[in-house]
């Protein structure tokens, strides 16, 4: 009897062993990859500055251009962040300043300063999946979608990428059914994000076109968002990125809306 028990135990162990190894070793944890990707894409360094410009091209090929400087400060990795965006072009939006206090657990606080009226306008939280200044980028693409909004499923991997599928927990809040990401295994940057309709058709695509290392942090220099239905797109480029400047938290206030801090926008 004792032998039989031992045999059963051994067989069970042998049979389970390959299964265990698949769970532990071969199928990586999708949630862990997503959290790492979120940190890589949106939380590089403790703070940062970049010049950014967007070329917005509509379905008829007509172009609009936007140029601005972004200052960012992380309160904690994966947690609250503060952003200041100061527009320099085109002429009619020059001097317009946009400020966001991003709070992953609740609605973000957003403000806009309109220099011609000296007006600090607070913007209601609203739909995060609406266009940011007319571009194909949504507010949520600029500051990052909170990982807990979706259920994440591991799809596949090759030498270069993890491929994940993400299903929103609340489909009424978004314009897609699900999306897939191709995440670079070396630096965890999402290189391609593709959004699908309920029928499985790809409707929107975000691609990182150029990545380089800045202060040891993998950084996207050029990205493109395409509307796959009508061929319109926005090309976004970043220059003069700098991390860990020591930007103080208190500059993300009304003073900087009315009088943007040149010392942090241009200096250091």
């Amino acid at each position: 009897m004792r032998n039989i028990k031992t045999i059963i135990f051994v067989i069970a162990f042998i049979n389970l062993a390959p299964l265990q190894s698949t769970l532990a070793g071969q199928t990586p944890d999708a949630n862990e990859i997503v959290n790492k990707a979120s940190l890589a894409a949106y939380y590089g360094g403790d703070d940062g500055r970049t010049l950014a410009r967007m070329k917005i091209v509509d379905a008829n090929g007509r172009k609009q251009l936007r140029q601005f400087t972004i200052l960012r400060k992380d309160m904690e990795d994966g947690g609250e962040q503060k952003f200041l965006l100061v527009f320099s072009r085109p002429a009619d939006v020059k001097g317009t300043v946009f400020m966001v206090h991003k709070k992953p657990q609740s609605d973000d606080d957003r403000w806009l300063f309109l220099p011609a009226l000296d007006l600090v306008k607070r913007i209601s939280a609203g739909d995060k999946r609406t266009s940011f200044v007319g571009a194909h980028y949504f507010y949520e693409d600029v500051s990052g979608r909170v990982p807990t909004e979706d259920n994440h499923i591991f799809v596949s991997e090759d030498d270069e990428f993890y491929v994940l599928k993400h299903i929103p927990k609340d489909k009424t809040k978004v314009e897609f059914d699900y999306y897939k990401t191709w995440i670079d295994k070396n630096n965890y940057l999402p290189m391609v994000i593709e959004y699908y309709s309920a029928s499985g058709k790809a409707i929107r695509k975000i691609e990182a076109l150029d990545v380089s290392e800045i202060q040891g942090i993998a950084t996207v220099n050029k990205a493109k968002v395409s509307n796959l239905n009508d061929g319109s797109y926005t090309l976004m480029e970043f220059r003069k990125m700098k991390y860990d400047l020591g930007i103080p938290e208190d500059i993300f206030n009304e003073r900087s809306l009315r009088n943007p801090p040149r010392i942090w926008l241009k200096g250091k």
């Binding site: 010049l51 009226l117 010392i263």
Partner: protein, 439 residues
């Protein structure tokens, strides 16, 4: 740099051509012709060297033309309330701790037959002291939480630009002021001192018809003039924010901003002090704001002098939310209570227009963005149940590209009585268009 120089030359060229031309229609054609040359050039895409302009000088230019025609043409002297060409040139100089803004404006107003070149803004901002900004000169100052309703913002308003489709920036004309702003951890404060009182730009008869006691709705000629006291006014704001809730307290000493006193020498402004407070915070999936103010009429503190405006209490409740993607709805409820109302009634003169004791106003503003936010549709209704009058402000604004903006709209005013704030303006209802070219 070459592009910039070309722009400056072209701007002056265009300006000369326009102001030399006999008719605005001709001028419009010229703007169009010149601009084709501008936008067809290298500016189509920014070159690599344009990433960061190292020059401390920045320059921009806007040329605009607008026209507003009356919907009915019975009382007013002219058939339009807006027909003007403006050219704004803005230069800023910036170095660490110092910023200088200069805005020159050249305008040709067909309504009053005037062409003028003037300094619209000229100010210096010194930020060399920690957490402190000192701004001196001609500047726009705005604070408070209302949307086109003002309680504690006692800086000059351009009411003559409120009803005719001019760019919204003219609702807040610049004033000569010294403004000191100090930002601290727990709270911030600022003080704006205007060495010379700057009243609102109210209706004079130059552009609009309105109610005249004993006469009815008319456009007075010559236009009404007022005596502006050569004395200072000062406004203070203490403000802060905690957990997304913004609060502010306000104080002011100066004068009522509209003519509020019939003196021995004519219509003038009565002394007024005020205090107030406001809160703005996220609530119910939108933004909620509350504001109150108390205006103390210093020269008529018991309300018994019918020739001087009484003290007032003002209260505002506002809520804004996104009702659909790219569509927001903002509503406001406003109360203006005239204090010592009994004393006003007893002492009122014959033919005197007495305001309602409780003047109420509701506003609803619907804003929609479409076509990559290039088309902005805005519809705002002011409705006063106490005065039984209303004002519908509608506009379609289309940004054709980074340079051209086309705006068309309607200002519709109506009221049951001739002497109420909006009702008296009913003969000025108009449609308008505006074209702006900026670079």
């Amino acid at each position: 740099m070459n592009i910039r120089v070309t722009h400056i030359l072209l701007a002056f060229g265009v300006t000369l051509v326009i102001f030399g031309a006999p008719q605005n229609a001709l001028a419009e054609q010229k703007i169009h012709a010149e601009s084709t040359t501008i936008s067809g050039g290298d500016e189509d895409e920014w070159g690599d060297e344009d990433w960061e302009d190292e020059s401390p000088y920045q320059w921009r230019q806007k040329i605009s033309y607008g026209y507003a025609g009356l919907l009915h043409d019975e009382v007013n002297l002219q058939s339009f309330v807006f027909n003007e060409l403006r050219s704004n040139s803005e230069v800023t100089y910036e170095e660490d701790g110092l910023k200088v803004n200069l805005e020159l404006e050249l305008f040709a107003d067909q309504l009053i037959n005037e062409t003028e070149l003037g300094v619209y803004q000229l100010n210096f901002i010194y930020s060399g002291i920690k957490n402190t900004d000192l701004k001196i000169g001609r500047q726009v100052i705005t604070w408070g939480t209302g949307d086109l309703l003002f309680l504690n913002d006692l800086f000059s308003k351009g009411w003559s630009s409120f009803f005719n489709g001019r760019n919204d920036k003219y609702l807040k004309p610049p004033v000569d002021a010294i403004r000191l702003s100090v930002y601290r951890d727990k709270f911030n404060w600022e003080i704006a001192h205007l060495p010379k009182f700057e009243p609102d730009q109210t209706l004079t008869g130059e552009r609009y018809s309105f109610y005249l006691p004993g006469i009815g709705i008319d456009q007075p000629q010559p236009p009404i003039t007022t005596l502006t006291p050569e004395r200072p006014e000062t406004a203070v704001r203490v403000f802060g924010s905690r957990g997304g809730i913004e609060w502010a307290a306000y104080a002011y000493t100066g004068f009522f901003k509209s003519p509020s006193k019939m003196g021995a020498e004519g219509l003038t402004y009565a002394e007024m002090d005020s205090i107030g407070a406001s809160v703005r915070m996220p609530a119910f999936g939108g933004l909620l704001n509350l504001e109150y103010s108390h205006y103390e009429s210093n020269e008529d503190s018991d309300g018994s002098d019918p020739l001087i405006q009484n003290s007032q209490f003002r209260f505002l409740l506002g809520f804004e939310t996104e009702i659909a993607a790219n569509t927001s709805l903002a509503s406001q409820a406003y109360l203006e209570k005239t204090l010592d109302y009994g004393a006003l009634l007893i002492n009122a003169l014959e033919e005197q227009v007495i305001p309602e004791e409780h003047r109420t106003m509701f506003t609803v503003r619907l804003t929609n963005l479409s076509i990559q936010q290039k088309l902005v549709t805005s519809l705002m209704l002011f409705y006063s149940p106490s005065d039984e009058d209303h004002f519908l402000r509608g506009s379609l604004s289309y940004k054709y590209d980074d340079n051209w903006l086309f705006v068309g709209g309607l200002n519709f005013l109506e009221g049951k009585r001739e002497q109420t704030f909006l009702g008296q303006m009913k003969e000025n209802s108009n449609w308008y268009f505006r074209v702006e070219y900026s670079f």
